[in-house]
């Protein structure tokens, strides 16, 4: 192996040999179906479900896999601030151009070949003109931009995911608009081809920055306000308790990310209100967008918060500094849960202050009050007020839940578990679309599902309660939680379930929905097993 190009290529091949073999195997199987099973020239009438199962879902999954492989997504921490480009490669005696160019070349070639192979060898429905060149170019452009955006160091944890999702969505939107206007292949190529050199230049800038250790830090205040902080007297008094100190530690490390991200996005979202003055539907779409921003962002920042040490290479184990704090694992988790609560409240405080101000200043406040008046007339003031408050509370609780629900996975410190969980989630998301489509298109399936709904819910409740019972037993045996804490936690959970059940019964006061179904939904909605498992996960990681 005499050249950096071969060495970098060898690393991809060696490390992902099984995955790449599986991809080749899949292409071989679809080619066999096309050439050996189907008669030449026979019209292919495949329904959407079969086509999804055979081509679109596996193809999408393979594309996502290749994105992860060639952007070093399996090795790096997507939610961290520092570049996910492997730092060990920065010390190789090669130029930035080589560090960027070869992985980009291999990656873009791989996804382009994937498309061309699928286009030429897979079974496609007859009567549809499937383009050959520009989808390959689109796949290459998406991969190149993914590399550029994920290799870039960012100022805030979780920001990489948001920037990448927004930029890639923007590129997809441009393509969809071009398709809408029936742009031909040459025009599509003209749109997509310049993306590759552009992405390469951005990636070079990103790697050069990461290579010289230039990682911006926006977690605190900006540089200017940082100077102000230095001038201000710092608190010198002691923390009231070790628990308070640990909450402060968690807040400083993770807590500010969510309010900061929400604060960054809010001005752009609320600015749309100025464009939507006369369109009531658009105003409410914008408000909905604003309301889902905190829980959506929490899903990203929650992943960072669940990792014991986001800033080191071995980011899965608990670092000695944290592991040797004289606190129980349950107390360490309690600090994380409290931090999540403060982080949620801070993010929502921003939303609840900014939203009315923006509505007032943009002149759209009247649209909201008009709708509120209609609601008031329809269901009465107390009910209307309660509905609004419940919706708001639902969003706030959902934000907190997003922040804490992956703790039990991230804190295990087992790489296979973390990556397995990500893989399962991705698989679920990929399969969700075809499954929903299948259910939507099949009335018999809908009927069967509706009839089986009580059984399905009861099964899920049984699963949840069994998991909770097992976890409670383990917590008790390992003395991670005392009897009093276990009983108190169970009592709080039961209280929350009853409260939610009461709200659901009040809200769905109709004979069409049985009360026991609402009880099952309440039991499933209030978090129990996953949060209870977090101390066990941390203890498993802390005492290996």
């Amino acid at each position: 192996m005499r050249s950096p190009a071969l060495a970098i290529g060898w690393e991809f091949r060696r490390r992902h040999r099984w995955g790449l073999t599986a991809v080749a195997g899949y292409l071989f199987v679809v080619a066999m179906i096309r050439f050996l099973i189907l008669e030449p020239g026979e019209p292919v009438l495949v329904d959407s479900g079969r086509f999804a199962a055979l081509v679109s879902v596996p193809l999408t999954a393979t594309f996502v896999y290749l994105l992860a492989v060639f952007s070093f997504g399996f090795a790096g921490d997507l939610a961290a601030r520092h570049s996910i480009y492997p730092a060990r490669m920065f010390t190789l005696p090669v130029t930035n151009a080589a560090l960027v160019g070869w992985p980009m070349l291999y990656g873009t070639a791989a996804v382009a070949i994937l498309w061309l192979a699928a286009r030429l060898f897979a079974v496609w429905p007859s009567g549809i003109e499937i383009p050959l060149v520009w989808p390959a170019l689109l796949a290459a452009a998406l991969l190149a931009w993914t590399q550029a955006l994920t290799w870039m160091p960012y100022g805030l944890p979780g920001m990489r995911l948001i920037v990448a999702v927004l930029c890639l969505a923007a590129l997809e939107t441009v393509v969809l608009v071009a398709i809408h206007f029936k742009a031909g292949e040459p025009r599509m190529v003209a749109i997509l081809a310049p993306q590759l050199p552009l992405a390469y230049l951005v990636a070079r800038f990103a790697v050069a920055r990461a290579r010289r250790g230039d990682v911006p830090d926006w977690r605190g205040l900006s540089a200017r306000s940082g100077e102000t902080t230095n001038v201000l007297p710092r608190p010198r008094d002691h923390f009231a308790s070790p628990g308070r100190a640990q909450v402060w530690f968690e807040w400083r490390r993770h807590g500010r990310s969510l309010p900061a991200l929400v604060g960054l996005l809010l001005p752009f979202e609320l600015a749309l209100l100025w464009l939507a003055k006369d369109a009531a539907a658009f105003v409410f779409e914008i408000l909905f967008l604003v309301l889902i921003t905190p829980p959506f962002m929490a899903a990203f920042t929650g992943w960072t918060g669940s990792k014991p040490h986001p800033n080191v290479g071995d980011s899965y184990g608990v670092p000695p500094f944290s592991a040797t704090r004289p606190l129980t694992s349950a107390e360490l988790i309690a600090a994380k849960l409290k931090m999540a609560m403060w982080s949620t409240l801070a993010a929502w405080l921003l939303v609840l202050v900014a939203m009315p101000l923006a509505l007032e200043w943009s002149g759209t406040w009247s649209v909201v009050t008009e709708r509120a008046r209609h609601m008031n007339d329809a269901i009465g003031t107390p009910r209307a007020a309660t509905v609004v408050l419940l919706i708001l509370a639902g969003f706030i609780v959902a934000t907190w839940k997003q922040l804490v629900q992956s703790l039990h996975i991230g804190l295990t410190g087992r790489e296979w578990m973390v990556k397995g969980s990500v893989l399962l989630t991705l698989t679920f998301l990929i399969l969700l679309g075809p499954i929903v489509e299948w259910i939507r298109d099949s009335p018999s399936v809908q009927r069967a599902l509706w009839n089986a709904l009580p059984l399905i819910l009861a099964g899920l409740v049984g699963l949840k309660m069994s998991a909770a019972a097992w976890i409670a037993t383990r917590l008790d045996r390992s003395r991670l939680l005392g009897d009093r804490a276990l009983v108190l936690g169970a009592a709080c959970w039961v209280l929350a379930v009853f409260a939610l059940y009461g709200v659901l019964v009040w809200f769905f006061s109709t004979p069409f929905v049985a009360h026991y179904l609402l009880a099952l939904i309440a039991i499933l909605a209030v978090p129990l097993a996953r949060i209870s498992a977090a101390p066990l996960a941390l203890a498993w990681n802390r005492h290996r």
Binding site: D217, R219, G220, N230, R234, P235, R236, H238, F239, S241, P242, R244, A245, W248, F249, R252, R253, H309, N311, V312, V318, P319, P320, F321, A323, T324, R325, P326, L327, T328, S329, S478, R479, R542, H543, R544
Partner: protein, 244 residues
Amino acid sequence: MSESVISVSELTRRFGATTALDSVSVSLPHGAVYGLVGANGAGKTTLIRHILGLLRAESGSVRVFGLDPVADPVAVLSRIGYLSEENDLPGWMRVDELIRYTSAFYPKWDDAYAEELRRAFALDPAAKIKDLSRGQRARAGLLIALAHRPELLVLDEPSSGLDPIVRRDILGAVIRTIADEGRTVLFSSHLLDEVEEVADHVTMIDHGRIVLSAPLDAIKESHRSLNEAFIAHVGSAATPGAEA
């Protein structure tokens, strides 16, 4: 002799096919400076991580102050001062924040002593940990390990972060002070000169096995130096301290 501060019995630990510790038994009495020496990869840090409860004993037992450090981490860790070889203090903290944060966990934290150490180590309270030099970070770690006057001080390769001129003065003074006050020090190092200067008792570990454990005076009586004892029990190829 009073009850042992640390009592490790028949401890074995494997990482895959590698045996990191092989039936290790150690007992540390009160008030001694205990040197744990061995080449890199001999098993020193693995043993220390068991003592701190960061590793669970797969076979054998570990007791610190008579307690299981995994089952009762709070009772054990609140009496231990620990300086990690990894020096993983949070880079975003300022020195005064580190002191304030750490003091919350230790009821016996001595503010005056912490301030005295901060001055002695010339640490700027407003400086961020990430902006400190490696030696300064080690001093900051040493400060928070010492300021609660722990009953047991565990130093894992402390010299790796200190320059040769000051490390002997600082560590020597600290270790002597603690030992004089009846506290116990467990001090791991691959620098034999350093261990020879401060330790009362020396344990040599090689490939996860204890090859020698004896008072330093006894070792010196049977061998001319610790270095010679090391060569005799471990072999010249693994002789540590060459870089010292």
